[in-house]
Subunit: 366 residues, 2 copies
DNA sequence: CCCCTTTAGTTCGGATACTGTACTAACTCG
DNA sequence: CGAGTTAGTACAGTATCCGAACTAAAGGGG
């Protein structure tokens, strides 16, 4: 039936609106989504039945007319698992639908040159703890996403290459069982920069932009590209390899085969001024190709402070073709080191948002 | 009503399928789109009433069962106007829904350093002729798109900068009246590389790819980026400025302010081998950032022949991170110099495809 | 203090588009 | 020439959305 597709779509629209734009009244939702008050009403009762939204005790704003009862995404019933493997740590967290991080377990460990099996074993501990916490809080985890520092195909559970981990062609099909998650537990994986961008889009500096580029400097250098509120993953999930934009063709050889990749400069000793210029050089290319509204500096780049962001912006605007009319904003990440991890959980939560009917309705007799 | 939106959407899906994938039977459409035979039947009769599709005399393939009557996009009733202003010519064409170019009027003229008014005057002649031809053939033009060699905002009728025309901030709001087109005639404009990419997507080398980058070398150097079958225009319509990817930071200064842009190398005397290497350098960056399935070489680059494309592919694959698993294909354009012009008409036709109900139904008394 | 106005949210009838099944149409094969 | 096969249509059933009317709950004015 295509009729139920319509309903599914509308449920998704309403839920996404509440998750992204915050709690509001049914009347406001109707106005903002273009749906009828009547339709929104039935949609909300449906979402209430599924435990995805909840009515809030609104502080009655002394306005004329019947006071509204706001509804917002529910934080008490469902959530998702965010997982991360990085060069020097593993981590697991649980985030609920309101975007609140309910529990985090980080475990410092040198993962470079260690077999995937060992690292996943380390991740299992954190995962089990996070799942136990979720169960304790009565939160039902509907899926997980794993953030990895390398090339990942979201469609196939294979990590192609993670230069900084020294991993190649790791097969991650049995990940769910290796982590001792329930059978058929939905688990996906993605590049850490992509997931960081998703986190910024929903909860951070990207909220005010429709399209932006999130620069993730954690170990390697990657970028997550958001266009029209959606992640650009590329045909094979390889998009956003900002670290391999060539800045200096006569520079040092890079692991990728080329010379003078931006990433080679990051590893060598450069002062912030120099780094800002090189980064701006690479970002200029990005802006010329993608034309985003903004660049969000994440990871260690955010730690450099506002002057650094301003320096990058200055260098960037100087020689960019369209900057005269629409200069690309440069902002610092507001999520810090948690961006990729929170983004992983957010990605898993997106399964609910894009199809709320996967959560069963608790047929409330009445 | 949202119910009629569903219908509109389905009409659009069916029409797009016919335009993009060619004529076929109702049964085939049903199977391929996932709609029911019954639904497709009513959708097709609707599209027939609007004159957007037509039944074809199928050469009866001696297969068992009742023979199918194929329906295909109609070439007799509606079309769109494609316009182009380039450095050394203006052009107008009419393309019908089947993608057939019904008439072309090209007019060679040096447009550099000439006022916009004068150039538009030149374009008016070609436009008038094309429109007259269309009227003669009984084709109703439902809109026009103008291809321009510069930065254009598709939402606002302003050309920001066309370096090769030496135009800056040209206001093109009164374009329809200056071309003596009917009042309220829908006219849009876009970058020539974007439109070339659209043409390749629908009628050329891009048909077999979901996402690819079309490189347009006509005067300047631009790229049209297609992702998931849709044009990536960027937040302000500035995306795809491949010519300003820096290939050699110590190179010649470019009009954009930077040094060693790819475009500066194109103008100077380089042999094809050198050009292939520089182009591959720039494309490597594109592949790292966007991860397309293929690159389509257009304009004068297509004229270099297959060896050139192979050379580019070799250089490109050598140092690209993901090439080992998913090498990016390199193809030559199949449309030649007409790509942008045909693409302009195609863009205008897209108005019908995305909403077939804008064409009135000729209530056929039955 | 009562009633009018305003805004929020629900109920109900009506319209519409999709689905599945059953049907007719048109052709091939034996 | 009939059985089998595939194309396309007709029709009843169902689910959804919309609009209008309705109830609910507050403020404000006389």
């Amino acid at each position: 039936m295509d009729l139920s597709d319509v309903r599914r779509h509308h449920l998704s629209v309403v839920l996404e609106h509440l998750v992204c734009s915050g709690p509001r009244s049914r009347a406001a939702i109707a106005q903002e989504t273009g749906l009828t008050k009547a339709t929104v009403s039935t949609l909300i009762t449906d979402l209430l039945d599924r435990g995805l939204v909840q009515e809030l005790d609104t502080p009655t704003a002394g306005r004329v007319g019947r006071p509204a009862t706001d509804v917002g995404a529910a934080g008490h019933s469902v959530g998702a698992l965010g997982l991360e493997i990085d060069v020097d740590e593993v981590a697991a967290c649980v985030v609920d639908l309101t975007g609140t991080v309910r529990t985090v377990h980080r475990h410092t460990a040198g993962n470079r040159d260690v077999t995937a099996r060992t690292v996943i074993h380390r991740l299992r501990d954190a995962t089990q703890r996070a799942m136990a916490d979720a169960a304790h809080m009565g939160i039902d985890c509907i899926g997980a996403t794993l953030a990895l520092p390398g090339l990942v195909d979201p469609n196939e559970p294979t990590l192609f290459v993670a230069p900084n981990l020294h991993w190649f062609d790791a097969d991650l099909r049995s990940l769910a069982t290796q982590l001792r998650l329930p059978e058929h537990f939905p688990i996906t994986m993605d590049n850490e920069a992509n997931l960081g961008a998703l986190a910024e889009l929903r909860h951070g500096a990207g909220q005010q932009f429709d399209s932006f580029v999130f620069v993730s400097a954690a170990g390697g250098l990657g970028a997550g590209i958001v266009l029209d509120g959606r992640l650009l993953r590329g045909a094979h999930g390889f998009a956003g390899e900002l670290g391999h934009v060539v800045v200096d063709p006569s520079g040092k050889p890079c692991a990728c085969g080329a010379r003078g990749c931006l990433e080679t400069l990051l590893h060598s000793d450069v002062n912030p001024d120099e780094l800002a210029r090189h980064l701006a050089d690479a970002l200029r290319t990005v802006v010329h190709l993608i034309d985003p509204e903004a660049v969000v500096l994440g990871g260690s780049l955010a730690a450099f402070g506002d002057e650094f962001a301003l320096a990058v912006a200055d260098h960037l605007h100087a020689d960019t073709l369209g900057a005269r009319w629409h200069p690309c904003a440069v902002r610092r990440s507001t999520l810090g080191a948690d961006a990729a991890l929170v983004g992983a959980a957010t990605a898993a939560l997106d399964r609910i948002i894009s199809d709320p009917t996967i959560v069963p309705t608790r047929a409330l007799a009445h």
